[in-house]
């Protein structure tokens, strides 16, 4: 008999996402994991002293470079020298320098998306997100979009998915969780980022988004401990 092996569940999720975006005409782009500060921060309108740099704990290398904190490090790289329309999804690992526990990891998957062209609007972004949410979670999916701030987009938004069941009992003095699960950040590519791509913000506009496949994988299969995703325990891997 033929005994087949197993793909990692992260691979399964990434493939599902890439397939959805390929159907919309996006291509896959991959960039480096070790990068310079400029591509990871400055090019994306995150200046050196910006408090937003505090919200990401970066792995700095001894040679002054860093491990990318998001696959957005390849936004400018993927678009530079190209003539819009530009449509890419950028899957890959990114890194957070923090102590690991069941809900925190040093290594995370991310899928970045980028669509630049003439007359691209917030409405186009919302349509794309709606399409993806329906593909992933069915026609009855409930989600909300709310304004948020990321230095590399303007306007910026976050998308939350409604939790299937309300979170565990609320203890006094702790926030009553609204029952929303943060899924992705997105927005219209910031004019400074467009300029860094070599594009004229008065001629072109575009949207970008970044989503975390790990959270989707864990939600889909009911995986409680994120460390399992990197433990290579065959009892885990061979279930997929």
């Amino acid at each position: 008999m033929i005994i087949t092996g197993h793909l990692h569940p992260s691979t399964l999720t990434l493939r599902t996402l890439v397939e959805i975006f390929e159907d919309l005409g996006f291509e896959v782009f991959e960039g480096p994991e070790v990068d310079d500060e400029w591509h990871n921060f400055d090019a994306l309108n995150v200046p050196a002293d910006h408090p937003a740099r505090d919200t990401q704990d970066t792995f700095w290398l001894k040679d002054g470079r860093l491990l990318r904190t998001h696959t957005s490090n390849s936004q400018v790289r993927s678009a530079r020298g190209k003539k819009p329309p530009i449509r890419y999804v950028i899957p890959g690992k990114c890194y957070r320098n923090e102590a690991v526990d069941e809900s925190h990891e040093t290594t995370l998957w991310m899928l970045e998306g980028l669509y630049i062209g003439k007359g691209i609007t917030v409405g186009h972004l919302f349509w794309t997100l709606d399409h993806v949410m329906r593909k992933l979670y069915g026609e009855k999916v409930e989600y909300r979009i709310r304004p948020h701030h990321f230095p590399f987009v303007e306007p910026g938004y976050e998308l939350d998915l409604k939790r299937e069941k309300p979170p565990a009992s609320t203890r006094e003095g702790e926030p009553q969780r609204g029952g929303w699960l943060e899924m992705l950040g997105c927005g219209m590519v910031h004019p400074i980022v467009l300029k860094n791509m070599g594009l004229d913000p008065n001629e072109y506009s575009g949207f970008a988004f970044g989503m975390g496949p790990d959270r989707m994988t864990m939600r889909k299969y009911g995986i409680k401990d994120i460390r399992q995703m990197w433990a290579n325990d065959l009892r885990f891997l061979r279930q997929f």
Binding site: K62, L67, Y221
Partner: protein, 750 residues
């Protein structure tokens, strides 16, 4: 930041029918509310303590005579802090409280009909050191729950670009804009005396990082605890009350977003305030009692000689307001954002003040904040406000932004009328005149017309934006390196291998075990955990660790595709590892080369030596690994049409135990029509200890009877909290056998 709903309503009446959390979330600060009165039983009522006498039979206990207005009761109480006159939470017999139900009790010979509750017993906090004294203004005999209601605390995640929201007034201003209303701060009337403040102190700016410094002087204050209402507001935000002067400045910070500081005038050398950058390092003691080393270049507020505060971060002990303080200097200044951020970071001291200065304060609003603080101090601590503000520096010049009406509509994809845009901007405090918007002094985040687009879209409501499919463009065929890598994965899986994903990091111990040279490796400068010191130069050490982690599996076949690093290069490698008595890795690389047309000798193949296996704690005798740089071979290889599989199969995942599993093999004869998948499902359903059920043999033979087949499975069993004993495992296997016998009339083969 935490906000009190009642405090917001000092400035703006919130709509009743809409959840305020939703409103603030719509503004861009995700908000959740905190429960402060989590369903306190209605048999817990307010009562006043009339008298406290010692318990006749116990030293530590007391008898408290209390009144609910209607009746007088004597209860036994052990709290050290109970005093006559206090308003307390009294739980009648039958009341359900945290930790159980209150019963009529006799304690050391004295009857106690009910009890007085601590914060913890009420379920509103952690404190259980004594009883909870309630606000004095509450009526007697009313349910405590009712009296606590109305204090809703909102917890909002304010993004770093919106420093202007970090106060109750600031958030109320944005909330009002949602209804196109513009709110103003109420006018203040200051009772100043004739004496001039500038005769008491002088202010001198010697640092470029302080564009504006204002100070007021209040003389003859009486230091005392703050009134209840103020203590309560600060306490609900988690701020410890200190005294009526410091609390007033803290109040203004949360009220208007402006950090203030109060000094004792008599401790200010030479009656001088000098804002300057330190010329040399200096050791100081900050208000929190910590000794800190300030470094050259940090901005300080100083008297004639010594610093009295780290500008915008924290005051120093040497000028602290104490019980003897009579004359107070209140500082309200603007400090450069970058300078404050740098100092706070260097000192590792982020305070409510530095947090706000870093995000930018409203320089036009500084004077109002100062005046309001002086007024509050005068009202709470008495004293006389000296005439005038001692000033140095100047206000910044307001910026302007062209309102690109058409471009805004194009970017958002919605037709906002010119009036609509103007009205929204006006409600937010912009002054719009013929297409030019004067930016409010509190909005440091507005630098482009795109920022205005965001404002218009969020206040108008983003749910009104119509979603539309982006324009189609020609779709290119997916034949990137990513697709090729996925095709390789699919092929390896079809050969029976399992995909591993290891960390990019290696620890010092891994490096030693793998005998790698650290001088060739990329090294992390600031790892939080030692495990994350080096970046892997190869996939081999990770795969060896993966093999070591699975001792209960006899034959292991892993592959991994991932990036590896040297000082000069980042490459994407593929590695294949086999361990145990099964296939050698060369058999697999041969298949792979045949399938995709790789050159066989592109792969480096190694048999891992025994001593290395030992260092990686691998007990299996034979481990071989092949590794190849995909960057070298993918571009030269044709893959043909690529179809990447997306898994459709339903998976019922079971959590993996941290304890080892045990495995058993079972072989059955069943009807040939029954699928392996059906049997696997039944095995998993019959035992919750089964984590993996893997078929390894299936064949049809006449000797089992017509239309029958033999099937065999490896079954891995585990428990969440222990290693299963042989006896327990046998018990589970028995359960599985009888389930299969029942469901499929399966016959166990022995």
């Amino acid at each position: 930041m935490k906000y009190l709903k009642s405090w917001l309503e000092d400035y703006y009446k919130l709509p009743k029918d809409i959840d305020v959390c939703d409103l603030i979330t719509r503004l861009g600060a995700e908000t959740e509310s905190l429960t402060l009165a989590p369903s306190i039983d209605e048999n817990v009522v307010t009562a006043r303590v009339l008298e406290v006498i010692p318990h006749p039979n116990a030293d530590r206990l007391k008898l408290a005579k209390i009144t609910t207005g209607k009746e007088e009761i004597t209860v036994v109480c052990g709290a050290p802090n109970i005093e006559p006159g206090q308003c307390v939470a009294y739980a009648r017999p039958g009341a359900k409280i945290r930790g159980g139900k209150v019963e009529k009790a006799t304690i050391r010979g004295v009857g106690s009909p009910g009890m007085i509750l601590s914060e913890r017993e009420m379920g509103i906090g952690k404190d259980h050191s004594g009883i909870k004294a309630l606000e004095g203004s509450l009526g007697l005999g009313c349910p405590v729950a009712a009296s606590l209601q109305g204090e809703v605390v909102l917890d909002a995640e304010v993004t770093p670009n919106r420093g202007d929201l970090l106060s109750h007034f600031g958030l109320a201003r944005d909330l009002a804009a949602l209804e196109l209303k513009k709110i103003e701060k109420p006018k203040l009337k200051l009772p100043e005396i004739k004496d001039l403040a500038e005769k008491e102190i002088t202010v001198q700016l010697k640092s470029v990082n302080c564009p504006l410094y204002l100070a007021r002087v209040v003389k003859g204050v009486k230091i005392a605890p703050s009134p209840d209402w103020l203590v309560k507001r600060l306490a609900l935000l988690g701020v410890n009350p200190i005294n009526n002067i410091v609390d007033a400045t803290n109040y203004i910070l949360f009220d208007l977003g402006h950090p203030l500081h109060a000094f004792d005038l008599r401790k200010l050398e030479g009656s001088k305030i000098v804002v300057r950058d330190l010329e040399k390092n200096e050791e100081v003691v900050t208000l929190d009692g910590e000794a800190r080393e300030l470094v050259e270049g940090m901005m300080v507020i100083a008297g004639e000689k010594r610093p009295v505060a780290i500008a915008g971060v924290m005051g120093l002990k040497n000028s602290e307001i104490d019980d003897e303080t009579a004359d107070v200097v209140i500082e309200a200044a603007v400090f450069d954002r970058k300078s404050i951020r740098k100092t706070a970071k260097l000192l590792g001291l982020v305070t409510e003040a530095s947090y706000r200065f870093e995000r930018g304060v409203d320089d036009v609003g500084v004077e109002y904040a100062l005046d309001k603080a002086a007024k509050m101090i005068q009202e709470m601590a008495g004293g006389r406000i000296l005439k005038g503000i001692v000033k140095a520096g100047k206000l910044s010049v307001a910026g302007h932004q062209t309102v690109e009406y058409q471009k805004i509509n194009q970017l958002v994809g919605r037709e906002y009328s010119r009036d609509r845009v103007d009205n929204i901007l006006a409600a937010l405090g912009f002054e719009v005149e013929s297409g030019q918007a004067r930016i409010p002094s509190w909005r440091h985040d507005i630098t482009s017309w795109q920022d205005l687009a965001e404002e218009v879209a969020r206040i108008d409501g983003i749910e009104k934006i119509k979603a539309g499919k982006p324009p189609e463009a020609e779709t290119k065929s997916g034949e990137s390196d990513w697709h090729k890598k996925e095709a390789i994965k699919d092929f390896l899986v079809s050969l029976g291998l399992t995909e591993a994903l290891n960390y990019t990091f290696l620890s010092g111990a891994d490096i030693k075990a793998a005998k790698l040279k650290t001088e060739d490796l990329l090294e992390v400068a600031n790892p939080v955990q030692e495990e994350n010191r080096y970046l892997r130069p190869s996939l081999v050490p990770g795969l060896l660790k993966s093999i070591a982690r699975n001792p209960s599996f006899d034959n292991i076949e892993f592959f991994e595709i991932g990036n590896v690093f040297s000082k000069t290069q980042e490459k994407t490698n593929l590695a294949i590892a086999t361990a145990g008595k099964g296939r050698k890795v060369a058999e697999i690389t041969q298949e792979l080369a045949k399938k995709f047309g790789f050159e066989k000798d592109e792969f480096s193949i190694f048999e891992i030596p025994r001593d290395e296996l030992k260092r990686f704690k691998i007990k299996k005798p034979s481990v071989s690994i092949a590794e190849v740089d995909l960057g070298q071979i993918l571009p030269q290889t044709k893959f043909g049409k690529l179809e990447i599989e997306v898994l459709q199969r339903e998976i019922k995942y079971r959590s993996v135990s941290s304890f080892p599993s045990v495995s058993r093999d079972l072989a059955f004869v069943v009807d040939a029509k029954i699928t392996l998948e059906e049997i696997k499902k039944e095995i998993l359903a019959s035992s919750n200890k089964a984590i993996l059920v893997e078929p390894f043999d299936e064949f049809i033979d006449e000797r089992f009877g017509k239309g029958k087949k033999s099937v065999a499975f490896h079954i891995y069993l585990q428990a969440e909290d222990r290693t299963l004993s042989d006896k327990e495992a046998d018990g589970e296997i028995k359960k599985i056998i009888s389930a299969l016998e029942k469901k499929f009339t399966a016959k166990l083969r022995s």
